[in-house]
Symmetry: C2
Subunit: 340 residues, 2 copies
DNA sequence: GTGAAAGCGCTAACAC
DNA sequence: GTGTTAGCGCTTTCAC
């Protein structure tokens, strides 16, 4: 319980000037106290100012500060869809990392729509955000908007290096490989792939990893089905995979959401998981732990990536060079693969 | 493909002054063009200005505008946890509604922590957001922070009216009632409740609705288990409900996430759903559609609520009175209840 | 240790 | 239809 703030009788918000007058000091001193610098203030004066601030209920005006300083202490995050659990998790981690550094986070959804993505970026730039984190709807993002926006940025979910840009991603191929190798370890010889589709035509690292693991084990390629990185996408992928002429006994899905959809298709077909169909997936979202059966999944180090992304942005305003960072994944073993 | 912007040779960002000089007009005219008012501009002049803007790559400085206007055209959203699918969905809807009105959305997670919730609100207030949407960690939110912040606000997930505040909620009791009535319609006479817990002690409307439906049907109350509104919470609730002396044949869970956790507990116990245990839940999140079996759930009109919340905030700055709005829910019938 | 004042980029009232 | 200008609240240099 703190003493309730007594509001000033005069109208309008309390400014630094009011505080100065009340405390009997200049506005500069109020600034020194509020910001802890750049000048020292006598303890007695400081106390007076603090009192005035509390009594008047003064809150600094961030817009004025942003105007003066040229920095809004705000970061922008543009994702295809915040209600995708992976991006929701990521957003949370980004918000944590940003808040720890005193930055607020402005959120924008692009809904898988390039025009909307661009609009979001431009909007953020106009709002003087100090940096933007972009999970593009494109596999190879449209760097021009970012360039003309002249704003520090980090490309998220980015496996390939984009020179001149900060980027962050996971080692998709390595992650897929450990998952598929694990499935192979369970004795499967026909392992299908439920591959999510990108807007671009480039081959996703997860497809590469799946293929590599199979090759190294001297196994033939199982059936591949391409569909969206979503629950419905996984559902139809599952249906098609189950209908394929050489039906696999195990499937690697490139996202947890696809795996969830796939699980539904498998259950509907009356097959048991992992008995008649083993499944492994990618992302490590919370949802994967409570599916039936719980999913064996390749976990992305979301918190670490978010921290690195925010750090890169904050570093960029200090003149640090853009760089490309790839994070390792870890296999989270649960029951869908056949482990007890 | 648009003509690439030619950047000015001089350093620093382009201001309205640069545009004015380049176009050979005054800064006022640039403002009139950019804002489409308040004065009319001759078509020829307007064209010149537009050209200058494009050529110089001018972007208005939102901080300056916010300072001048006293409005940042930004809304704040504080939720317990954006990675909770329900809040993720809600956030998306809020962002859509805000963007449609030209507002950006600043996101804050309170992580179920009251101190953090308060810090978020104060932070948003300092940033001159035009309003905050608060999904409090408390059942009866701490209105003092909001009051002293002197900022328009809407309380989300708020069943009860908080005089002087905008609030929005769903009719929890009615929603629970239709779900439980549906379960009763399937012939169940022993229906348990997996009730999520609030920080406050007030009785949740969903508990009321469950009880009412049972009473009206002349049925005895089934077992109740209280636990968190989460997947793990639902999981332990499920385990306890299954272990109860008079094990129910159907359970109503107060959130989809609880139901997902509950489903896992039921599956682990080797019971079939809905055969040996029927389930219905609350929220209508995307996850509920792809559980096994798909959940019969009470859907909240998230988009409508988000729009209303944003409208209330924008209305508040125009002097509209705060009001309390309750939205109806709809039962989404899938298979977990026993329907084919 | 403290204060006066310039100026960040923008809007809009007012003058022409 | 266009231009001039005061001032939004803040930071910080420079003088005291």
């Amino acid at each position: 319980m703190t003493t309730p703030a007594v509001h000033p009788t005069r109208s309008g918000p309390v400014t630094r000037k009011d505080v100065a007058r009340y405390a009997g000091v200049s506005t500069a001193v109020v600034s020194y106290v509020v910001n802890g610098g750049p000048k020292k203030v006598a303890p007695a004066t400081e106390a007076k100012v603090q009192d005035a601030i509390r009594i008047l209920g003064y809150r600094p005006n961030a817009a004025a500060r942003a105007l003066k300083l040229g920095s809004s202490e705000t970061l922008g995050l543009v994702v295809p869809d915040i209600s995708n659990p992976f991006f929701a998790l990521f957003s949370h981690a980004v918000e944590d990392a940003a808040a720890a550094l005193g930055y607020a986070l402005v959120l924008g959804n692009s809904d898988g729509n390039l025009a909307k993505e661009r609009r979001n970026i431009r909007n953020l730039a106009a709002r003087q955000v100090d940096g933007v984190l972009l999970a593009s709807v494109l596999f190879e993002p449209d760097l021009e908007v970012l360039e003309t926006a002249e704003i520090p940025s980090v490309l998220l979910n980015q496996e390939q290096d984009a020179p001149g840009f900060n980027s962050i991603g996971v080692d998709l191929a390595a992650g897929a490989r450990i998952a598929v190798e694990h499935l192979i370890g369970h004795g499967h010889t026909n392992i299908g792939l439920a591959m999510g589709t990108n807007v671009s035509g480039a081959t996703d690292g997860r497809e590469v990893g799946w293929r590599e693991a199979l090759q190294e084990a001297g196994l033939p390629e199982g059936p591949i089905v391409y569909s969206a990185f979503t629950r419905p996408g996984g559902y139809t992928a599952g249906q098609r995979l189950l209908a394929s002429v050489n039906r696999p006994t195990a499937i690697f899905a490139t996202s947890d959401m696809q795996a969830i959809g796939l699980l539904r298709a498998v259950h509907e077909a009356g097959l048991s998981v992992p008995g008649q169909m083993a499944v492994a997936s990618f992302d490590g979202s919370a949802e994967s732990e409570y599916s039936w059966p719980p999913l064996t999944t390749v976990e992305q180090p979301v918190a670490a990536m978010a921290e690195a992304a925010v750090a890169a942005l904050v570093g960029a305003s200090r003149g640090e060079k853009p760089r490309h960072r790839i994070f390792p994944t870890t296999l989270h073993i649960r029951q869908s693969c056949g482990c007890p």
